[in-house]
Each structure stands twice: as structure tokens, then as C-alpha cells.
């Protein structure tokens, strides 16, 4: 039963609220990364986090990469064969994966697995007063808890994307050459002829760096700023996955447009 004016007011209020949240997220990030770190203490924490966030994500990334490569090869062969262009299967898979599927799918899987676990972990530390007790012991939780996790995600996602792309191509090779019976030599040589390192591979890695930055930032902020109850943590986790996914897809479009325009 709200009038039009009230609806617009609530829309405006929601917009202001959103901008406030973004500002808060920015301050959290600045607090975490722009302070001189105590390297002796922070480095082991960083290694630990790269293990939790990066290495433990490898299984899902490798499996997903392999299957996507295999499916692309299967579907791609199906269509290319009609144009007697089955030899172009290598370039098809390599370009799709290196430019788009690698960064985007890895980013989405990362947001779902590592992002949600980061949010839940930090949120739980907040809810059980661990962050408060750190503050009372004059340890900055932004530096000790948030920063290592942020850098771990930032470094891990490009590495995971590379591994994803590699396994996709292995998968495509397995289906295309070993199963369907295409010629291995032309598979690789056509691929090498069509894929440019700087334009395709490097641009894909740049995308994954950007995705890593934003996904990890969102995950860490949502955990840090959540309502410290179990309900609050679960909402924060959901928000991480949803926002990260939207940001990845949106940024993918922007970056692709920039890159096609002759980056």
C-alpha cells in the first residue's frame, strides 16, 4: 500500500545504503592492504591462506577444466565437422578457454568455493568475538586476518585460471585426438597458429587478476562486516557468491570490450 513517492524514497534509500556499503568495503580494503605489514609474522599467515584458498581449490578446478575441455571438443567437433573444418577444433577450444571460459568459469567456481568459505570463516571469527579479542590484544584484525586472505585470493585466482585452461586443453586433446581420432599434429599446429600469446593468453590472465581482486575483496568484506549471528553469516555467504558472480560476469563484458578494441 505504499504510494509512488514512498516507493521512490525507499529506492533512493536503498541506493544510498548500497553506496555506503561500497564505501565501507573500500575502507576495509584500504585498512587491510595499505599498512606496512609485519613481514615476519604475516608471511606464514599468507602461505597458510594460499594453501587453504588456492591449493585446496585445485581439485574442483582441475575436474571442471577437464570436463569443460572435453565437452567443448565434443560439441565443437559436432558442428565443425559439417563445414569440413574439424581441424580447427584445437583453436576453437584454446581460444574459447583462454579468452573467456578460463577466467570466467574459474572465477565463478572460486567465488562459490573459496569466496564463500572466506566469508564464513571471517564471519564466524567475528561472531565468536575472536576479532574483538585480537583488537584488545592490540593486534589489528585487518592486517592479521583480512589481509593474508585477500592477498591469497588475489595470487591464487590467476594460477587457478592457468591450471584450468591447461586441463581444458588436455581434455579437448583426449576427446579430439585420442577418442575421435583427429590428427595430433594438426591439432597443435593449428592451435599455435591461431592463438597469440599476448592477445589471448595474457589477456585471459589479466582478466583473472581483475576477477581475483574483486571476488576476494567482496568475500573478505562480507565476512568482516556481517551481522555476527549464524543467520547473518549465512546471508553474508550468499551475498558473497551472488555479488562475486555478477561482478565477474559484468567485468568480463567490460574487459572483453576493452580488449577487442585493440588493447
Amino acid at each position: 500500500m505504499l504510494s509512488m513517492v514512498q516507493r521512490i524514497q525507499s529506492l533512493g534509500a536503498a541506493g544510498i545504503h548500497f553506496v555506503e556499503r561500497v564505501g565501507e568495503a573500500g575502507l576495509v580494503l584500504l585498512g587491510a592492504i595499505f599498512k606496512k605489514p609485519n613481514l615476519h609474522k604475516s608471511f606464514p599467515l599468507l602461505i597458510q591462506q594460499i594453501y587453504m584458498v588456492g591449493f585446496l581449490s585445485l581439485p574442483i578446478i582441475i575436474v571442471a577444466g577437464s570436463f569443460i575441455g572435453m565437452v567443448l571438443a565434443l560439441q565443437g567437433y559436432n558442428i565443425l565437422e559439417k563445414f569440413a573444418a574439424a581441424d580447427e577444433l584445437g583453436p576453437l577450444v584454446a581460444l574459447s578457454v583462454a579468452r573467456e571460459l578460463g577466467p570466467v568459469v574459474t572465477g565463478l567456481l572460486f567465488a562459490g568455493r573459496a569466496g564463500s568459505s572466506l566469508t564464513a570463516e571471517i564471519g564466524l571469527m567475528k561472531a565468536t568475538d575472536q576479532l574483538s579479542s585480537m583488537e584488545l590484544m592490540a593486534v589489528d584484525p585487518l592486517q592479521r586476518v583480512v589481509a593474508p586472505r585477500f592477498w591469497a585470493g588475489f595470487y591464487s585466482l590467476p594460477l587457478l585460471t592457468i591450471v584450468f585452461s591447461m586441463f581444458s586443453i588436455f581434455g579437448a586433446y583426449a576427446v579430439g585426438v585420442d577418442w575421435i581420432g583427429l590428427d595430433a599434429g594438426s591439432f597443435w599446429s593449428n592451435m599455435q597458429a591461431s592463438v597469440d600469446f599476448r592477445i589471448d593468453i595474457v589477456n585471459g590472465i589479466i582478466k583473472s587478476i581483475v576477477f581475483g581482486f574483486f571476488t576476494t575483496w567482496i568475500a573478505v568484506y562480507q565476512g568482516y562486516a556481517c551481522v555476527p549471528t549464524s543467520e547473518g553469516i549465512s546471508h553474508a555467504t550468499t551475498r558473497t557468491v551472488v555479488f562475486s558472480s555478477l561482478v565477474i560476469l559484468g567485468l568480463d563484458f567490460v574487459l572483453t570490450a576493452m580488449m577487442m578494441g585493440g588493447w
Binding site: T128, S133, L136, M137, A138
Partner: protein, 267 residues
């Protein structure tokens, strides 16, 4: 024992959103005493502890720890002053990824430039004081509720603070654990001369332990005094709280219309 108060709260006003939590509150905690802060749930007792430790800032008024005005300190100075405080959280707040030993060693490693050997000695001494020296390698998830609380206490006193604050230390503990905690609290206060502030709503235990009680409600002090004095208080709200009466100034029924009309009516 000097007569100067350890903690002084002067004209504290603090609101969260539109709700006024404290309204011109003033109280002094004498040095070396053990003081209880009590009141019905939701009066902001935990908020008061956070204000004293500097995690929250008052809207108006000031909070002093010795000679330092907590709410005006710079971040680095605040971190220095916090060395003098220890806090036992309601949830214990143990770091779940560290062992008991590492939990207690944590503030020592962070704040003090001590050798590992020296830290080990201090941690063992604290563990001995709370009776858990044999449990040093356990993880927090292996501990029972009472044990976890004692570990948290050992961590809170690791830096030998002047002031220790307890947030609902007796809640949800079995009688034996409560007995252990009470013994430790008395010991710390009398032998180590630590000023202690206990936030609780357990009247029996608190009254037997503390020297002085402040009863808070609606953001103000509605009663204060030695435990015996308060038992004979004339204030109706204090009596309701202390005697656990289900109805009184804090009513049993949430405001609603007339019962008969409600039953007969539609919605």
C-alpha cells in the same frame, strides 16, 4: 591501596541507532576492588565493557582508566593502554586454529619482546594458575565449556593486566566450573590485586563474590551499594530484579488491548 578509582565513567551517553543505551551515566570503580554490574537483559552491560576498552566511542561523556581518557586516545596510544586490560568474553573467543598453549602465548608473542623460553615459562605459570597445565597441547575444540573458559581467563591475564573485565562468566556453566571460576576470580583480585569488573545477571553468585554492585536499567543506575545494602533496597525495580519477580516495573504482559475484546474481535 590508593583511593583513586581505577576506572571512572563520567556522564556517559551512548546511543545505538535511535535507542539510547546510556543516559548521563557516571560510576567509579575503586582500584583493587571487585565490582558487579548487573541488570535485566538488554540494558547494554556488554556495551559498557566495550566502551571501557575503547572498542566503542561514547556520544558524550568520558571514560578514564587511571589517568588516560580512553575515548580521546590515538590508535597507537590506545593499543598501549590496552596492555593494562584483560577481558574474558562470553563466548571465550579462543582462536580455534591454535592450541591452548599458543592461544595463551598469543598476546605475549604479539605485544612483548620476549624470548620463546621466557614465554613458555609465563604460559606454563598461567596454565598452572588455572589448573590446566597438562592440557597445553589440546585444541579449543577438544575442551569442555569450563576448561575453555579457564583457558580464556589464562589468556586474559597473560600480560598481568591491572583491570580485568568479565562478560557473563557464569552463564551456561555447570556448578563445578562456576566454583572454579569464582575461586580464580577471587584469587586474581585478592592476591594479584587486579581490579575486576563482572557483568552478570546471576545474583546469588555475584553477590557472594563482589565488594560493590551497580544495578543498571534503562540506561541509568537504579541502585548501587554493597550487596547487603542492596538486598534491602526500597527501589521497586531493584527489588523485582533481585528477587526475580515475574511482574513489577518490568511488566509480564507486552502492551496489548483488552483481552475480552481481543478474543471476541476479529483480528
Amino acid at each position: 591501596m590508593s583511593s583513586q578509582a581505577c576506572v571512572q565513567i563520567k556522564h556517559l551517553t551512548f546511543s545505538r541507532g535511535s535507542r539510547k543505551i546510556f543516559d548521563d551515566l557516571s560510576l567509579d570503580v575503586p582500584r583493587g576492588s571487585i565490582v558487579g554490574i548487573m541488570g535485566p537483559s538488554g540494558t547494554g552491560k556488554t556495551t559498557l565493557l566495550r566502551l571501557i576498552s575503547g572498542q566503542l566511542s561514547p556520544d558524550q561523556g568520558s571514560i578514564f582508566l587511571d589517568d588516560d581518557e580512553i575515548n580521546t586516545l590515538s590508535r597507537s596510544r590506545l593499543y598501549q593502554v590496552r596492555k593494562k586490560m584483560g577481558m574474558l568474553f562470553q563466548s571465550n573467543a579462543l582462536f580455534t586454529n591454535l592450541s591452548v598453549f599458543d592461544n595463551i602465548a598469543y598476546p605475549l608473542r604479539e605485544r612483548a619482546d620476549l624470548s620463546e623460553a621466557f614465554i613458555r615459562d609465563i604460559v606454563l605459570m598461567k596454565l598452572q594458575a588455572v589448573g590446566l597445565r597438562g592440557a597445553r597441547h589440546l585444541m579449543p575444540s577438544d575442551l569442555s565449556g569450563g576448561m575453555a573458559r579457564r583457558v580464556a581467563l589464562a589468556r586474559a591475564i597473560a600480560m598481568d593486566p591491572e583491570l580485568i573485565m568479565y562478560d557473563e562468566p557464569f552463564t551456561g556453566q555447570d556448578p563445578i566450573s562456576v566454583g572454579m571460576i569464582v575461586k580464580l576470580m577471587r584469587l586474581l583480585n585478592k592476591s594479584a590485586n587486579m581490579t575486576s569488573i563482572i557483568v552478570s545477571h546471576d545474583i546469588e553468585i555475584t553477590f557472594n563474590l563482589v565488594d560493590y554492585v551497580f544495578v543498571l536499567a534503562d540506561g541509568k543506575i537504579i541502585g548501587q551499594g554493597k550487596p547487603d545494602e542492596l538486598r534491602n533496597s526500597a527501589n521497586a525495580q531493584v527489588r523485582q530484579f533481585l528477587n526475580g519477580l515475574p511482574d513489577g516495573p518490568v511488566p509480564f504482559h507486552y502492551p496489548a488491548k483488552d483481552y475480552a475484546t481481543d478474543l471476541m474481535g476479529e483480528n
